[in-house]
């Protein structure tokens, strides 16, 4: 039974938004209050409820009337992963990075709390682990990526936090245990730290560099920095895709006493002995092309290896699309992303062979763009192009490759690095008054205080 005059009950969050909304209402032109909607009975499946999937669920639920939208996401907790570098650096409390997914799933969207098991692109079906099947008319692949620790012999995510092993990517617990491992190394008073990069595209490609910089800050704070040696081992000649930032980081590492070793990838680890094996991958390997180094090549014999002792090692695992995506027809069949990443047009975000499929976020095959900032730029493109596809119209929106990395160069300072595909990954600054080449307190404050709120606005489809 319903009671028409039952008092309206708002939780604190709704109340706050209501208050702010009323305050702003007078400023809004009437036309901007509601974007145009499309009536449809299409079945839309969104695979993944991370930043990309949740943003699309919110955006599509607002724009489509009558559609059946399913969000496939097994996790109850949403992790603010861009905060994990701050957790691992001892700056943030881990609790600060978690929110219930229920806060962000919009009404009217069916939340399927199951992991996906497979995609049959020909039959337009997604199979789930409970043997059920979701049929779709349109599919948004936003699964994120897979961490392939198993491609490093002897390495498992469980080892993070033990035997001097850290890895900010592993999980929130992994980031927390990485912090503890760094603390233990610093408390020891001396020793060698190895920081690595992966021979594949990775999410937040700046994170391995940030972890090095924040650890350097902490070592310098001890007052006896010279008692610690720090090495950075990279599989390619470059450390970062944006050319100016790459040169800057190399110079800064040199200035801060970091020994750089290029063309080495971490191939094995012996936790008990605290030794790591690195394989020389050759001078032809470059950061922007080392997706050429494929899984089959990991086991190639006869390559030169070196063994390095360490007191602390930061492991960056090779990454790829999740296995069930790799095993589907949606995976790239040729080009630099073949066999590893989703095959989409990097400008329209539409699948190159299945026009009813769109990709967004870390899973797509793109030269850069595995960041939450990229999702912010991609989400409106996918929204506009998917709606156009549903109406058999030309795709109107194009993604310019925008991505952003608040490059932390020390605890308390950062550079707001924003760039895109054009002009050799040239800068695309959002704020004319913040130079991406400058280390600044303001950029750090954005990382520390403002980007997480902006991220949640992206999840809600508001930014």
């Amino acid at each position: 039974m319903t009671y028409p005059l039952e008092p309206l009950r708002l939780d604190r969050r709704q109340l706050l938004k209501f208050g702010l909304g009323v305050g702003a209402a007078g400023l809004l032109p009437l036309g901007s209050l509601k974007a145009s909607t499309l009536s449809t009975n299409a079945r839309i499946v969104i695979l993944g409820g991370g930043a990309a999937g949740m943003a699309m669920a919110n955006r599509l639920s607002r724009r489509l009337e009558g559609a059946s939208i399913s969000l496939v996401e097994p996790r109850e907790i949403h992790h603010y992963q861009p905060g994990w570098t701050l957790v691992a650096s001892g700056v943030w409390n881990p609790d600060k990075t978690v929110r219930p997914n229920a806060n962000f799933v919009p009404p009217g969207v069916r939340w399927v709390r199951q992991p996906a098991l497979g995609i049959d692109a020909e039959q337009r079906r997604v199979s789930l682990t409970d043997a059920s099947v979701l049929e779709y008319d349109y599919l948004v692949v936003a699964t994120g990526l897979q961490l392939n620790y198993h491609l490093i012999d002897g390495m498992t995510p469980d080892l993070v936090g033990t035997h001097g092993i850290g890895s900010v990517y592993a999980s929130l617990e992994g980031a927390t245990r990485t912090r503890d491992a760094i603390n233990a190394w610093i408390a020891k008073g001396s020793g060698k730290g190895l920081f690595t990069a992966a021979p594949t595209p990775v999410k937040c490609a700046g994170a391995p560099l940030k972890m090095t910089f924040t650890t350097l800050s902490r070592l310098e704070e001890t007052g006896h920095r010279d008692d610690f040696s720090v090495e950075f081992l990279a599989p390619g000649a470059a450390l970062f895709s944006q050319p100016w930032v790459n040169d800057f980081v190399k110079q800064r590492f040199d200035d801060q006493g970091v020994t750089r070793r290029h063309h080495y990838r971490l191939s094995a680890i012996d936790p008990g002995a605290r030794q790591a094996e690195f394989t020389f991958v050759g001078p032809d390997s470059e950061f922007t092309s080392h997706h050429e180094l494929r899984e089959a090549e990991y086991s190639r014999d006869g390559l030169r290896t070196v063994i390095a002792d360490y007191d602390f090692i930061h492991v960056v695992p090779p990454m790829s699309a999740p296995d069930f995506v790799k095993e589907s027809d949606l995976i790239a069949r040729e080009g630099p992303f073949r066999g590893e990443w989703l095959d989409v047009d990097i400008h329209t975000m539409q699948h190159n062979r299945y026009p009813e499929v769109f990709g967004i976020g870390d899973v797509i095959g793109a030269p850069i763009n595995k960041t939450a900032a990229s999702v912010k730029a991609q989400a409106p493109v996918v929204e506009a192009n998917l709606l156009a596809q549903m109406q058999d119209q030309p795709l109107p929106a194009r993604h310019n490759g925008y991505t952003s990395c608040p490059m932390i160069t020390g605890i308390g300072k950062a550079m707001l690095v924003e760039f895109g595909y054009d002009n050799n990954l040239d800068f695309l600054p959002s704020f004319p008054f913040i130079d991406p080449r400058d280390e600044s307190w303001a950029a750090w404050v954005m990382k520390d205080r403002m980007l997480q709120p902006a991220y949640y606005a992206v999840l809600e489809g508001q930014a």
């Binding site: 969050r13 706050l16 938004k17 702010l20 909304g21 702003a24 400023l27 809004l28 901007s32 700056v91 020390g410 605890i411 308390g412 300072k413 008054f433 913040i434 130079d435 400058d438 280390e439 600044s440 307190w441 303001a442 750090w444 404050v445 520390d448 205080r449 403002m450 997480q452 709120p453 902006a454 949640y456 606005a457 809600e460 508001q462 930014a463």
Partner: protein, 119 residues
């Protein structure tokens, strides 16, 4: 970005400090109201101590604002950094003055009124 988007970001950014903001605004309003009910007029009452204390509160921001953001004053380097920092310090000093100035009036009011009433 839409206004609603900006408001959503603002909502998330302020939410952890809502109690502090509400408390500070509450103190300001209560002190101002009480003082005005007892005859306080902003620019008619003079108190060098309150002015200096508000200035000190503002300047203290040079230490604790960077610390509050897990940083340090030495990293405030660019022009925009300084514009933002000075803006924060000035804002802090004004907010402190809006509390401390009427507060000093309340503390000194009986004596102040007697002096003013003396022919």
């Amino acid at each position: 970005m839409t206004i609603q988007g900006a408001l959503t970001i603002l909502m998330y950014a302020l939410a952890p400090f809502l109690w502090l903001i509400v408390g500070a605004v509450g103190v300001l309003v209560v002190v101002q109201l009480l003082a005005r009910l007892r005859g306080y007029r902003t620019f008619h009452y003079r108190c060098l101590g309150a002015n200096l204390a508000a200035l000190a509160v503002g300047l203290s921001g040079l230490w604790w604002i960077p610390a509050f953001t897990n940083s340090r004053l030495g990293y405030v380097t660019t022009l925009f950094d300084w514009v933002a920092m000075i803006g924060a310090v000035v804002g802090l000093a004004i907010a402190a003055w809006l509390v401390l100035h009427p507060l000093s009036y309340l503390v000194r009011a009986p004596r102040y009124v007697r002096v003013k009433e003396t022919p």
